[in-house]
C-alpha cells in the first residue's frame, strides 16, 4: 500500500534544438519551420528538464510516488534524446508521436498532452502534480501547461516555480517568481496542482547507467506504441517569420587606459 501522500507526478517536457545550433526559419506548406529541423541535434527543453529533475527528487523523498514523462515530438527524435535523459532520472516515458518545433499552436499541443495524461493507466488524479517548464525554449509562450491543467480540471496552478516543499499532511509550500527578483510564497492544501518550473535549485544530475537501463525496459516498447497525433492550427496564421537583422556598428577601443574608459562610461551612464 502506498503512502497516504504518495504523489503521482506527470512531467510534460518537449524536445528542442540544441541551444548552440544556428537557427534559420524557412517557409513550408503548413507554415514556418526551421531549416534542417529534423537533423538539428535536439535536447530536452531546459526548463522542463528542471521540472523533471525536481520531480525525481520529490518522488524519491515521498514513499510510493511515481514520475511519468509525457513528451510530444517525432518518435525518432524522442528516442535519441531519451537515451541521455533516461540516465538522469527514473520515470516512465509516455511518448506522443507528433511534430517538432515552436510554430505549432499551443492549444493543440495542450489538447494532445491532456488526452494522453487522462488516459494514463494507474494515474490517481487526486494525487496528481502536473509539472513542466514555465515556458518552452521553442514557442516560449508559457501557456501549454496551464491549458493542460484546465483541461484536467486542476484549479491550483503555479508558474515560475523555483521550489516546492511538501509537508507531512500533504500540503505544500511553493515559491513562484514574480516581478522585481522576488518569490511569491503560497501554501496549497495539496494535490492536484500544476507547477510550471523555472530553473529550480537542482543541478543537472549525472548520468546513471543503472537508471538508464531501468528506464530503457519500458521506454523502447512505449516508443514503438507511441500514438501519432496531428496538431490543428486553430486559426493561427503566420504572416512572416525571420531572423532579427539588426547589426550594430561596434566601436572597438583597444588602447584606451582604464582611467579614460571609466570617465567615458560614467559620462555615458549619466547622459539622458
Amino acid at each position: 500500500m502506498s503512502d497516504p501522500i504518495a504523489l503521482h507526478i506527470v512531467v510534460c517536457a518537449g524536445i528542442v534544438p540544441d541551444p548552440l545550433q544556428t537557427l534559420e526559419p524557412v517557409s513550408g506548406p503548413t507554415g514556418p519551420g526551421l531549416k534542417n529541423e529534423m537533423v538539428l541535434p535536439a535536447v530536452l527543453d531546459p526548463w522542463a528538464g528542471c521540472a523533471l529533475y525536481e520531480a525525481a527528487r520529490l518522488a524519491a523523498s515521498v514513499a510510493g510516488s511515481k514520475v511519468w514523462l509525457v513528451s510530444l515530438g517525432p518518435k525518432a527524435k524522442l528516442q535519441q534524446v531519451m537515451m541521455t535523459v533516461g540516465q538522469k532520472a527514473a520515470f516512465e516515458l509516455v511518448p506522443i508521436d507528433g511534430p517538432i518545433g515552436g510554430f505549432t499552436d499551443a492549444h493543440a499541443t495542450a489538447a494532445a498532452l491532456a488526452e494522453a495524461i487522462a488516459a494514463l493507466p494507474g494515474l490517481d488524479r487526486e494525487r496528481l502534480l502536473l509539472f513542466g517548464g514555465w515556458e518552452s525554449a521553442t514557442r516560449g509562450a508559457g501557456v501549454t501547461l496551464q491549458l493542460v491543467g484546465e483541461r484536467l480540471g486542476i484549479a491550483d496552478q503555479f508558474q515560475g516555480v523555483d521550489q516546492i516543499a511538501v509537508r507531512e499532511d500533504g500540503s505544500f509550500e511553493v515559491l513562484e517568481r514574480v516581478e522585481g527578483g522576488k518569490h511569491q510564497v503560497s501554501v496549497c492544501a495539496g494535490a492536484p496542482a500544476v507547477l510550471g518550473w523555472a530553473t529550480g535549485n537542482l543541478a543537472e544530475p549525472r548520468n546513471n547507467p543503472q537508471t538508464g537501463m531501468q528506464n530503457m525496459r519500458s521506454m523502447m516498447p512505449a516508443l514503438q506504441k507511441a500514438k501519432a497525433v496531428k496538431l490543428e492550427a486553430n486559426g493561427l496564421r503566420y504572416v512572416s517569420a525571420s531572423l532579427p537583422k539588426q547589426q550594430r556598428e561596434t566601436r572597438v577601443e583597444k588602447n584606451m587606459a582604464p582611467d579614460a574608459i571609466a570617465c567615458e562610461l560614467v559620462e555615458w551612464m549619466a547622459a539622458e
Binding site: V143, Q146, A155, V252
Partner: protein
C-alpha cells in the same frame, strides 16, 4: 471579412491595492490605440482589492469600466484570479482581450482563454494591422521574430512590458460597473513575498542601466589567482552607486562556490539574475556587459537593451561584435574599480 471587435483591457492593481500597475497602464495605451485604429468598442477590466480607486487613472480613456474587487482579489492566486478575469471577460463580451504579461496575469490568462473557448498568444511586442490584427512575437528564445494573426475569437494577447508607454490621462471620477464573481473553493493561501538575496536587492526592473556580469569575473587574473571576493565587492559597489540592475550570464549563475555546497560563487547572485536563452530578457535603456563571452545564442539577453557597451579582453568576442555599440578591450577589474571611484566621488 471585418466584424466589429470589442476590446477588453484586463488590468490589475499594484501592491498598494488601489492603483494600477505600470504594465497595466501600458496595456491600456495599447488598447486605446487599437480601438481607435479599428473603430472598436473598448472596455477596461480591473482586478484587485479597491478597483474603484484604481479606475480614476483610466477614466479619461473613454472606455466602459468593469471591476472585480474585494478581499479575495488581494492575493494573486490562480483559482480566484481566473474566476475574476473570466467574469470580466464575460461581462465585457470581449472578442479581443489585451493583458499585461505580468506574473499575476501570465499565471491565469491561458486558463481563462480556455474557459471562454478562446485562444491566447503571449509575449506580444507590437500590434499592427488595420482590417485584421497582426501581432509580433519572438520564438526560440528571442532568436526568430514572427508576425502572426488569428481569426478565432476571443483572442487573448499578453503584452510584454515596456512595449507601450504607460497611459497618462488625467485622473477623474469614474463610473465603474461591479462584476459579481462566483468563487470556487480556495485551496491556496498566499503568505507573502520572499527575496532570495541575502543583502541588497540586485534586480531592479525600472533601472536605466543593466549591468551584466559574466564568468570572467571568477577566472584567473594576470597574477595567476582568482579574486572572486574582490569581484563581488566591485560589482555590489557599482550596483549601489549606480542604481543599476544586475544580470548574469548562465555560466556565472551556474557556478557554485568551492567546497561542493550549493552556494553560488557570488553569494548575491541567483538564477533570477540570469539573462539570455534560459534566463530573462529584460528591457533597460542602457546595458554594460563585463567579462562576458559567447556567440549569438548566448547574446539574446541583449535583445531589448537600447544602448550597449561592453568591457572584454577579447576584441573579437561574438557577444560584443555587431551586438554592442562600444567594446572596451580592457581588464574589467581595473575599469570598474575606477568607475566606482568616480561614482563615489560624485556622490560625495
Amino acid at each position: 471579412m471585418s466584424t466589429m471587435e470589442t476590446i477588453l483591457v484586463l488590468t490589475h492593481v499594484d501592491d498598494s491595492g488601489a492603483a494600477l500597475t505600470k504594465a497595466s497602464l501600458e496595456t491600456v495605451t495599447a488598447g486605446v490605440e487599437l480601438s481607435q485604429r479599428m473603430g472598436a468598442t473598448l472596455a477596461i477590466g480591473i482586478l484587485g482589492r479597491d478597483a474603484q480607486a484604481a479606475a480614476s487613472a483610466v477614466a479619461a480613456a473613454g472606455a466602459r469600466l468593469l471591476a472585480v474587487e474585494g478581499e479575495a482579489f488581494v492575493q494573486a492566486r490562480y483559482a480566484s484570479d481566473a474566476a475574476g478575469c473570466e467574469a470580466l471577460c464575460r461581462a465585457a463580451g470581449a472578442s479581443i482581450v489585451l493583458a499585461p504579461g505580468s506574473a499575476r496575469l501570465v499565471r491565469v490568462a491561458a486558463g481563462v482563454a480556455h474557459r471562454l473557448g478562446g485562444f491566447i498568444d503571449t509575449h506580444i511586442t507590437a500590434i499592427a494591422g488595420a482590417g485584421s490584427i497582426e501581432v509580433t512575437r519572438w520564438f526560440y528564445r528571442q532568436r526568430v521574430e514572427a508576425v502572426i494573426s488569428r481569426d478565432a475569437r476571443p483572442w487573448f494577447l499578453l503584452l510584454d512590458a515596456g512595449t507601450h508607454a504607460a497611459y497618462a490621462g488625467e485622473p477623474a471620477a469614474a463610473q465603474v460597473e461591479a462584476v459579481a464573481v462566483a468563487l470556487p473553493p480556495l485551496r491556496t493561501v498566499v503568505e507573502g513575498f520572499r527575496s532570495p538575496m541575502l543583502d541588497a536587492q540586485t534586480i531592479r526592473p525600472d533601472a536605466r542601466l543593466l549591468f551584466v556580469a559574466g564568468a570572467g569575473w571568477t577566472k584567473k587574473q594576470p597574477d595567476g589567482q582568482t579574486h572572486v571576493a574582490k569581484a563581488g565587492e566591485e560589482i555590489l559597489a557599482f550596483l549601489r552607486l549606480s542604481g543599476a540592475s544586475l544580470g548574469s550570464s548562465k555560466s556565472l549563475a551556474d557556478q557554485k562556490a568551492e567546497g561542493g555546497d550549493e552556494q553560488p560563487v557570488l553569494p548575491f547572485l541567483t538564477h533570477l539574475n540570469q539573462i539570455g536563452q534560459t534566463g530573462s530578457t529584460p528591457r533597460h535603456a542602457k546595458g554594460l556587459s563585463t567579462c562576458c563571452h559567447g556567440e549569438e545564442p548566448h547574446a539574446v539577453g541583449w535583445r531589448f537593451i537600447g544602448e550597449r557597451r561592453a568591457i572584454s579582453l577579447d576584441a573579437n568576442c561574438g557577444w560584443t561584435r555587431g551586438k554592442a555599440d562600444v567594446v572596451y578591450v580592457a581588464d574589467a577589474f581595473e575599469v570598474m574599480a575606477r568607475v566606482n571611484a568616480l561614482l563615489e566621488a560624485r556622490t560625495a
